[in-house]
Structure formats: structure tokens, C-alpha cells
Amino acid sequence: MQLPIPVEENFDIQACINGDQHSFGMLVKSYQERLLRLAHYLLGGWDDAEDAVQETFIKAYKRLDSYDTSRPFSSWIFRILVNTCKDKMKSAYWRKKTSLDVLYKTSSQECDTLQNLGDKNILISAFEELSSKRRQAIVLCDIEGYTTREAGQIMHCSESTVRVTLMHARRIIRKYYLEKSTL
């Protein structure tokens, strides 16, 4: 499993807390790709992901005073993103979406590293089988490469809960993948 790409923390968090927008701009540029990718897999489309990430940065800037500087900044901002995505998924707009297929088809065409589009679609459909929590666990640990401890900090639950959630999520995805790929 590949490790998450290290974020170059070339921004001054204390300056951000003091309201320095330039430093916060550096922070946005450092984190935007990771946050967009996570939101994309949680929400199923780039448009929703973009909205969620913008909202996350705005919330983060507003609440910077509540950030505990002794803890990793990435966990804090990722948690805001996960909560924002959860709120979006609870919204009436989201419930109207009966299927994520259409959205994912767009993204699958952009994913040039996957040679077999059929396999990609199976994977994406498998994600739909997962609950929000399980999807978070699989995206954070198996796609983004976080440890279960880090994922627990982001998901606001214990490491053991993440392990169990991940185990169930993997089981569902494996079962789904085997069923569909043998058809």
C-alpha cells in the first residue's frame, strides 16, 4: 500500500489563526487536492466535491481559533470535510440522487491510470453498496493510505472501530467484485 503524499506544510498556522489570508491561501493550495479526492469518492462527483471542499475551507478559516495546535492539522481539516460531506448526503438534494452511476462514469473517463473501465465501474458500484461510514473507512485507508489510527481521528471514532468498519467494507467490496467480475 502506498503512503499518502506528504503535504508540504509551507504555511504558518499561527498566521492563519491571526487572520492572514495569504498564509491561508498557501494552506488551501497544500490541501485542496487531497480534500477534493476524498470528497470525490465520498460524494461521487467533482461538482459536489468542489462545493464540499470550498465549504470546508470557509468553515475551517472561521473556526481556526478552535483548532488545537498540538494535534495534526490534517486530521482537523479532514474531519471538517467528512462532516460536511455527511451533511450533504443528508440533504434533500442528495436523497433525490437515486444512483451515483452517472456521476462516476464521468470520473472514470478521467481516471486514465485504470486500463479496464469495466473493472472501475464495478468498483464504483461496489462503493454504492457501502454505508457512509464504511465508505469513509475504505477511502481513507485503502485509497488514501491512512493508518487506522489516523482514519479514526478523522472519522471521530476509535482505531478498533475503524478496523471493524474497514473489515466489513472490504468484505462487501470483495464479495461484490467477485460476483460481478465473474459474470
Binding site: 493550495k29 487536492e33 477534493l36 479526492r37 468498483l123 485509497i143 468484505r171
Partner: protein, 156 residues
Amino acid sequence: MSCRHSQKWLINNYNSELIELPLSVQNHLNDCIHCQHIIQQLDTLNQKLEQLHNVSIPEKICQRMWPTVALNLQPPSFQRRYRTSWAISIPTLATAALMLALFFRISEREATPNTVTVSNQTQKSLYINNARIDGQEANLSIYEHNESRMTLIWLD
């Protein structure tokens, strides 16, 4: 071990690292081409999941992210929230204290003795020192009006 059991075990436990493979599963895998194929598929699945990490993010989204966020930024809310919290909490605390005071005052008034024993004395306009009411000592003045059968007890 049957293919069904082997497949179930692999789905539940396989994670590309078959370090502690049970002997029964291992024996089955040695002979069964079908289950070997399942392992290959599960390896492919893990690779596919890892490849999802490399999804390319549309460039335009990254380019417009900061300008859009910058337009909607509000200053960190530390000072405003600090003032707001005190502005709200002082009247709230005062109201709470007033309510508590009223509650205890009302409770005190309502705490009339259930039983009054004045050592069998039923005299009119009697003043009794050190009477015991509900186990507590008090000075009582008792006024009895025979016609209306009303007794007034006054606690000093």
C-alpha cells in the same frame, strides 16, 4: 474443504498477505484452480483500489478553488465569539439565579409540617415554647375558634 468455504474464508480474510493461511485452505488452494483464480481477482481488486488514489483532479477546479474561497472568507470568529458568549451568558446566569432563588423561596413556603404534635394541649390562645414539629423545635402560638372549628398556628 469445499470451494464455497474456501471462497468465504478468502473474502473475509484475504488482504494480499497470506501469512497465517490455515492448512485446510492452503491444501485446497494447492489443488483448486478456481480458488487460485479468486486470489488473483482479489489481488487485482487491491491494485484497482490503490489506483483510485491516482485519479486526476480536473485542473480548473484546483485553479478556481482559492479565488472562490477567498471571496467568501469571514474573519476568524475568536473575538466576536468571545464577546457574544459573555453578552449571552451574563443575562442567562442572572435569570437562572433569579429562578433558583424563587424556586427555593416557594419550596420553603410550601414546606408546611405534615403533622403537628403539641403534647395533647388544645387550649385557646396558647403559646408554647420549644414545641416539636417534624422533629424540629419551634415556638408556637395556637389560636382556636370553636364556632368555625378553625385552628391557626403561628410559628415564631
